[in-house]
Symmetry: C2
Subunit: 333 residues, 2 copies
């Protein structure tokens, strides 16, 4: 399929499930970006997840995001219980203006439903020449280091750095040891997981994927990853007056919906500190990237950018079973 | 020794080594805080490191920090080649004002010498009720994930969150697998290091501490820690027009001095997004901390705060050999 065909399929499916047109467009765009970049788990497959959240009543399908500026350096979008994508799209131009005026700015998305990765959001800022950090909690599935019961979500951290004339330096990773979807795949395949991925509900290490899903996942990187997971909870939860991961999973009331809550995006304009010397100092960053790649190490997102080039040239292949599942969604609606 | 006695010893020693009085006071305060909190490696032992940097000519001993505001949300302190402590002290009140006015602000310290941890700086912000993130590069000692040659420094990330009526939630950790001092201790003791701490100069994994020190350390947490190390380089290097870790070690010219360069501190005022509801949402953060501690997991810095309470009550014990080394510094000056 071409990306345009994919976009139409995604938009139509979301519309048929009852999502308002502006939301459907914004959500479809994110799913197409995921599929384009070879992130199957954040691609068009997420239509099933999004439609499930819609049908479970977790999402306000016609929410109108409201943008305010509580302080000169802060932007807030109340997403009204809708998907995060449109809220971000509405806040983005205000965040850009604010960051350029003051050198640094923060955007809080409140009261939104999350099903996607954070890299589309940091990339949107790097495309405008800004540096970006984004964090969001999820559902409480992850134990703190030294504990065995869930407190944190998978709590991703994303970062973007603009690279003139090429794809930005972007990373976006969960602070959990692995993505939850990875454990889900092991469960479906009936395969054991390594014994350091998580705990069962009694707090014992286990290789049973199902038991980890019902118990708690671990953070990556021991106490350091656990500290970062706590930081994400605080920044995109209490700091912006929104749910923690524990609050999100409680609010879901076992409907199996996507995480609900907030997201914090910090944007910094390189011209703020650098003035006329932006290109000189961005070139020094390029020297660092070269020092990494020269020794055969890869930059984060490099596989994603390779997939993007292929997809833009040749389109994407959607597994027949997934396509059938998506068509079935449409018929049921 | 009481903390006052320790402060006098540190100040006098730094003065005798030629450091201007205001710098000596600021640097001594940081060392006393380290010793007080049981961080021996960042305590009064650092007098030896600081005096070494002074005698090696790496530090401008009478630098006058210059504070400017390049944008309404940005504060810059040019440290003039002096120690970071006085530059931070001069920038702190301006950063506080700026963060409170705009909701978020960033402070760049430029052209300073670093020998200390970052937690004193984030704690200074939490004491004023702000949330803080601080990052700084160091010397290029650490290989990116997938590589074996040094690009990054030990590149610490520190975070602070205010907790009314008690010590703040603070973490401060290197993005390297271990602290460099840890490898140094193994070298001195003639003990092997685990084979996943670093590489020799030929890029081979090794258990020889001396070879790791001459080769490259690893990042913590695989590619995720490596991505964070790159973020630290970018934020506190090119973004603020200052040295990367590679630039710092090159500028040292084998003098064995402390890292030279920049530091970025981001401060966020919780009242910005929360208005009158700050205490309500800080209480929600406390609920998260309780959920961590209830299962026997420790919060970061908890050992440090226990040591602090002991030190404030009973003073600190300085090893006789270290005390003799410090007195010898004074005599030589």
């Amino acid at each position: 399929m071409t990306l345009d065909e994919l976009r139409t399929l995604a938009t139509d499916t979301l519309r048929a499930a009852g999502l308002a047109y502006d939301h459907a467009e914004a959500v479809a765009e994110t799913m197409v970006a995921g599929e384009r970049d070879g992130c199957a788990s954040h691609g068009i497959y997420r239509l099933l997840v999004a439609v499930n959240s819609i049908r479970a009543g977790v999402v306000v399908t016609d929410a109108v995001p409201v943008v305010t500026s509580p302080r000169t350096g802060l932007v807030r979008v109340d997403g009204g219980g809708g998907f995060a994508q449109l809220a971000f799209a509405r806040g983005l131009p205000v965040l850009l203006d604010t960051a350029r005026s003051h050198g640094i700015a923060a955007l809080a998305l409140n009261n939104v439903v999350h099903f996607a990765a954070l890299w589309p959001e940091v990339e949107a800022l790097t495309e405008q020449g800004l540096v970006a950090i984004a964090v969001t909690p999820s559902h409480a599935w992850v134990a703190p280091a030294g504990g065995t019961r869930p407190v944190f979500g998978t709590n991703p951290i994303a970062f973007g750095w603009p690279r003139p004339g090429r794809e930005p330096f972007v990373f976006d990773f969960a602070t959990s040891a692995v993505a939850r979807g990875e454990i889900e795949l092991h469960r479906r395949a009936g395969k054991p997981v390594p014994d350091d991925w998580g705990y069962d509900a009694d707090g014992q290490a286990t290789t049973d994927a199902e038991k980890v899903l019902a118990g708690a996942m671990r953070t990556f990187g021991g106490h350091k990853g656990s500290a970062l997971a706590a930081m994400v909870e605080l920044l995109a939860g209490p700091l912006i007056g929104d749910l923690t991961s524990a609050g999100s999973i409680a609010a879901d009331r076992n409907r199996g919906g996507s995480p609900i809550g907030g997201e914090l995006v910090i944007a910094i304009d390189p011209a703020g500190f650098l003035g006329d010397a932006v290109s000189e100092h961005l070139a020094r960053a390029e020297a660092m990237f070269a020092a990494i790649e020269e020794q055969g190490a890869r930059l984060p997102s490099s596989r994603r950018y390779e997939a993007r080039r292929r997809s833009l040239a040749y389109g994407v292949e959607i597994p027949a079973a997934l396509h059938a599942d998506i068509m079935a969604l449409g018929e049921r609606a």
